[in-house]
Amino acid sequence: MEINGDALTIDLDMSMDEIVEFEEFIRPRIEYIEKIEIEENGLLKSSALLSLLVSIKKTRPEMEIPFLDKGWTMSPIYGTVHWIYHD
């Protein structure tokens, strides 16, 4: 997890502990973080990360999360994964 000004970069392969840590970090800072970049080199380890990103997006729809906004990802292990989070 790396913060550069108002942009936050996180890894895709976060463990549950890291996700909880990320949640605690973002909670008080959600208003001033403008963008969350995801390093896509790794492999999604937990769907909790996907949920957390959706939760952040629902809280501040104007926040840029390119990975989430794309709506899908492809992985050699999980195949094609789509997500739908808007009503």
Partner: protein
């Protein structure tokens, strides 16, 4: 050597290099199977091997790599994601290539059983893939392709409400008689993470058993951050569409630990679609084209290298050694030094610099980073981990450490054995045992290379059970290796496991435990003038350290004098030199002399005593002490005079002198005198000598 033999030797060398590279690349590819540049590189290697094998009449090898090449070609041209079980087949195929090559080169008629099995698997997979992608062979217009894509909704697959239906339709079109299509709905309970389940765990298992996998996460119920909890599942539903050879029961088995209400499997019947098999591949490609392109591999980076016979390199190395001696002679010759001519002095200085530069360059020619050897070890760890069903995390450090090429060649086998041993016997039998011991379920193997006391150390550590000293002692006594009354240090006890025929393994596996391995490892390392040290902490793990001398013919040495003899101490080992105050020198009865250097009590070693030189007894404070780092800790070598620092060429000593362990070699000095190079690790304090 006849022309034909020469050509064959080139084939063997080239094929060996290709296979060695394949072995490393396939593991790298397994780690990142999105790297299609790397896949291309693997394909090129296999392609070259096929050509060479057929050219030399190695048809069995040619046949195998031909099919393997086809399979690689399929994936590289379609850029299709490679399923985990098929990646395993790639790795297996490289193993078969190695084995078959061995059979071909040694004219062994009987091929390994794995040859037929693996070839069958390749052919079957290829047939399946080609069956699915049959439409690829048909010529389709762009308009037709677009029509089809829109028919399946692929052009707008993202963020569509009816994506699932479209996906099913799409996969139905791919169905053949053998393939089953399932729609799996997962609705995991809110506490699923706490129960150790996650949707991705099931996706991973499914991907290992299926051909196509697509999933849809319904995240509409995920709450805003004020009500959100990471450790509670907020995902309403995940629908997975899978195309697989597996039966329904096999798929149900994957979810056997879930509650019944948490999953629902629906088998989808094949649809009858007119001309639906047309252009699927093109549509598929369209879908995949939008996928993120993998990071470029540096596998294609151009190399500017030439092959040089190592014999020529050795000759060059010897010549440079002589050049260094001659240069030293010129630099130290009294007559030359007395010439008061600035131009001559400058020329000598320049010669010295150039000689040093040439020497460094030539030395570096023989030095190779240990990286490649460590890369190979990744494969060993992977395979052993799979065979022993133990989860292993490998840590690699110091892979840029350089080591003499001749040593690298002889290092692989001992390292493989030690690593297998560490996983098979060092680590606990299973993750439960580790968890009970308060460790992570995943065992850790650390492979390190570093410089220490002028040596190169390659260590293999595990965080496993450690060695049970009592058991080792008992076994050694039972086998008559030691007597009951022998009083051994920990290090000596651990070393017993390297005695021929010694093994405490309860079960003999095909990896280790036959008691014929570690003694061979020890012998191999000793041939390199190295040694193996074992350190173990019961319950915490074991470290095997292979200590190797640099063994390069030239070292940087500190010239010292004791009486009329000149000795060389390798500069890498020297910490500092000083003349001690009388107050800091102490004599302890029965233990010898010590110097208290800034609070550290360091044993004093008198060279005159070690080498039995008749000299006038001097007190330590009247001499100079050279503080030296050794494997056994610091020692202070007592000498009469420091003469200076010099690059010296190591000359091996004759058989009779080679037995003197305190000396590692000799060197000719600039003035023609001979000096002995000290093996500082063998300079022991008095008490240790008497103990030993």
């Amino acid at each position: 050597m006849t022309k034909q033999e020469q050509v064959k030797a080139i084939f063997i060398e080239e094929a060996g290099e290709i296979v060695e590279k394949l072995d490393v690349d396939i593991i790298r590819f397994e780690e990142n199977s999105n790297d299609f540049n790397l896949l291309n590189e693997i394909f090129r290697g296999v392609h070259t091997l096929k050509g060479n094998a057929n050219a030399f009449g190695f048809t069995r090898l040619g046949e195998f790599v031909h099919h393997f090449e086809d399979l690689l070609d399929y994936y590289r041209s379609t850029k299709e994601s490679i399923e985990a079980n098929n990646l395993e087949l790639f790795v297996e195929s490289v193993d078969v290539v190695k084995e078959v090559m061995g059979c071909e080169l040694n004219a062994i008629e009987q091929l390994p059983q794995s040859y037929t099995e693996c070839l069958e698997k390749i052919k079957r997979l290829l047939a399946l893939k080609k069956n699915i992608s049959k439409p690829m062979t048909e010529q389709n217009s762009v308009a037709e392709l677009n029509d089809l894509a829109s028919e399946f909704g692929l052009s707008s697959l993202e963020n569509e409400e009816n994506d699932i239906e479209k996906s099913i339709k799409f996969h139905q079109a791919l169905q053949t008689d053998e393939l089953n299509l399932y729609k799996i709905d997962l609705n995991l309970d809110i506490d699923c993470y706490k129960r150790g389940f996650d949707y991705f765990i099931f996706l991973k298992i499914l991907s290992e058993r299926t051909n196509f996998l697509e999933s849809f996460f319904d995240m509409k119920n995920v709450k805003t951050i004020s009500e959100f909890k990471s450790d509670e599942n907020g995902i309403a539903n995940v629908t997975v569409v899978v195309l697989t050879l597996q039966r329904r029961e096999d798929i149900e088995e994957i979810f056997e630990f879930l509650f019944e209400h948490e999953f629902h499997i629906t088998q989808i019947e094949p649809a009858v679609i007119k001309k639906a098999d047309i252009k699927i591949e093109a549509a598929l490609s369209t879908a995949f084209q939008t996928a993120p392109s993998p990071a470029p591999s540096n596998a294609n980076a151009p190399k500017s290298t030439i092959r040089i016979d190592t014999i020529k390199l050795d000759e060059l190395f010897d010549s440079v050694g002589e050049l260094v001696i001659t240069q030293n002679f010129i630099a130290q010759n009294e007559k030359i030094r007395s010439i008061e001519d600035e131009a001559i002095n400058r020329t000598i200085e320049t010669l010295s610099k150039i000689t040093k530069k040439i020497q460094d360059r030539v030395m570096s020619l023989r030095m190779i980073a240990i990286k490649d050897t460590f890369e190979k070890m990744k494969r060993v760890v992977r395979d052993t981990s799979k065979k022993t069903l133990k989860e292993v995390h490998l840590i690699v450090q110091g892979e840029d450490t350089e080591i003499d090429k001749t040593m690298i060649d002889s290092l692989s086998d001992p390292l493989i054995h030690i690593i297998r041993n560490a996983i098979d016997h060092g680590l606990e039998s299973n993750s439960d045992e580790r968890l009970r011991a308060g460790k992570n379920a995943e065992g850790v193997i650390a492979l390190r290379a570093f410089h220490k006391s002028g040596n190169i150390v390659i260590s293999v550590s595990d965080d496993g059970r450690g060695i049970n000293k009592e058991r080792v002692l008992q076994k050694a006594i039972e086998r008559g290796i030691i007597n009951e009354n022998e009083n051994l240090t920990d290090s000596q006890i651990f070393s017993l496991i390297m005695q021929p025929g010694f093994s405490t393994a309860e079960a003999v596996s095909d990896l280790s435990g036959r008691g014929v391995g570690l003694d061979v490892v020890k012998t191999s390392i000793e041939k390199l003038r190295g040694k193996i040290e074992i350190d173990s902490d019961e319950g915490c793990g074991t470290t095997f350290s292979i200590v190797l001398p640099l063994t390069l013919a030239i070292i940087d040495g500190m010239l010292v004098r004791t009486a009329d003899e000149i000795y060389i101490i390798p500069t890498l080992s020297v910490v500092e030199s000083f003349r001690p105050e009388k107050e800091i020198v102490h004599i302890i009865k029965g233990r010898g002399e010590f110097v208290n250097l800034r609070g550290e009590c360091i044993p004093i070693i008198r060279l005159s005593t070690v080498f039995d030189i008749k000299t006038q007894k001097m007190e330590a404070w009247e001499s100079i002490l050279v503080c030296v780092e050794t494997e056994g800790g610091r020692i202070a070598v007592m000498i009469d005079e420091l003469l200076g620092r010099q690059q010296v060429v190591i000359k091996t000593l004759g058989k009779s002198l080679a037995k003197i362990k305190e000396i590692s070699g000799g060197a000719i000095l600039g003035n023609g005198d001979i000096a002995l190079i000290l093996n500082v690790d063998e300079l022991r304090p008095l008490n240790e000598i008497s103990h030993v």
